[in-house]
Symmetry: C2
């Protein structure tokens, strides 16, 4: 198979070797088994007036928060919610302004899930380059993650598009009623300080291009209007013919390894000096979405 | 002086020592000599309908591009220009749609200024943490920069808000008629591949919150309207009473060292685990702007 041939060629002669496949060619030749179907039971559709934001939840890292968010969604907690904070180069944050809104089977706060202990069997595809913040970075189940081999702790990293559960000063004061997405340079100082619960698979521009808020911390204030969220639904709760078909490249696949290599050593006509390195937050996990529009 | 006392205390007992000064306290106690006046002869005011973007040029790194951009500005080349590209998590780019617009004493293209050789006397304040992309990172003249001690090359890094000169495939095909600003995760793979010419000191949100373009590479297409740039002026060319007073914290000052320490070890009540590290693109150089509005 061509993909295998390429990968063998890459392994034998990395860096500036003869014509390397383009990113598109790599993806076009990926065997179907290198793509996974994103589980509708961990996929949220958040509807804004401007369109739909699709979020994949990360139960591997934050099982309790994910279960709680799903309970909130099933209680329609986020219907008529709003994006209330838009801080430049930092986060877009949303919540339910109606404080009396029922939580359904969810709770307001949960014990923090900042890190998890990993086992030998925990999937992890490491990146080869040093990271400023962690001993090791890479991917677990499609999500950017870091590890500390000394403590055997692993955690999700605050890359562009990652979604977290806001909290107050108490570590256990979050739970998913306030969520945020990273819209700028990865604020990695937040790693291990907030529970990350997933990532935006599509629609990031709907969150990143909103007017910035001018209250403290970028909250909208005065005449600035929060942006309405019509509804948030779990894909699995919709009839099958209303669900999107979402495929994400498996981060433990040979094709993903080829993608990472391609991004470390850009070889198109424009680049003069391939970086030869890559940051975990500069690797976009390829996603293909088809199906009915919102 | 209190600042000196604090710095001595920090040096003696870093990390989680007793009550550390807040970022605001550090800045409030900075001696005036730790601030520099940003030179009006290297400051651009770019006027959009939504407000003003202030850019500091970097002649230390790109003397020829900076001189060329100043010549373009003096020819009013960017008056009635437009932001023509807005690619999510990447760049906002602007240019002059009128191809017949006179260049004044400027030229369309210039030899690339991707890197410079540094000397012993070249100022550089290194950061202590490893960087994914470069052997060393830190600050030179207020700008985020990287170094390779083997080749004695130094270059500016593509952090949020950095401004560069777009080019075609030929390395020497840029010159400053097409400029861009980074609006997302630092695209460090561009380092040493494009000539960076400066950074945005204020008004980033005017560039980062624009609607994303849906043509190739995020160019606006079809019914999507480029965003008008009314004018770009060099601060030094304006009467003194129309100039902003801009102070930037000197990156070779003791106060800046304290700021970096504060950002590496966050100690306010919210943080539970200080990162203990910082990426060059996560250090915001403090800037104070006063004076007449646009």
């Amino acid at each position: 198979m061509k993909t295998v041939f390429w990968l063998a060629a890459l392994a034998a002669a990395p860096a500036a070797a003869a014509p390397a496949p383009s990113l598109q060619e790599i993806l076009d030749h990926a065997p179907p088994s290198d793509w996974r179907t994103v589980d509708p039971a961990r996929t949220l559709y958040m509807e804004l007036s401007g369109g739909r934001v699709v979020i994949e939840l990360a139960p591997t890292f934050a099982p309790n928060h994910v279960a709680n968010i799903k309970a909130l969604v099933r209680a329609h907690y986020f219907d008529n919610a709003a994006i209330v904070r838009e801080q430049d180069d930092y986060v877009a944050q949303w919540s339910q302004p109606d404080e009396a809104k029922p939580l359904g089977e969810a709770t307001k706060t949960l014990k923090a899930e900042f890190t998890r202990t990993y086992a030998a069997a925990t999937p992890f595809t490491p990146l080869p380059d040093p990271d400023t913040y962690a001993a090791a970075t890479g991917f677990t189940d499609g999500f950017p993650a870091a590890r500390d081999p000394k403590t055997r702790a692993t955690w999700l990293t605050h890359c562009y598009g990652m979604v977290g559960a806001g909290r107050d000063n108490d570590a256990d004061s979050g739970g998913g009623t306030e969520l945020y997405a990273v819209i700028g340079q990865a604020p990695r100082q937040l790693d291990r300080n907030v529970t990350l619960v997933g990532r935006v698979l599509s629609g990031m521009e709907l969150l990143s291009s909103l007017p910035r808020g001018h209250g403290d911390l970028g909250f909208y204030q005065g005449a600035e209007k929060p942006v309405a969220i019509t509804s948030v639904r779990l894909a699995a709760d919709l009839p099958a013919d209303q669900r999107l078909e979402i495929k994400a490249l498996r981060t433990d696949s040979a094709t993903f390894a080829a993608v990472v290599h391609n991004r470390r050593f850009r070889q198109d006509a424009w680049y003069k000096v391939p970086a030869g390195h890559i940051d975990v937050c500069n690797v976009a996990v390829p996603v293909r979405i088809t199906g009915p529009k919102a």
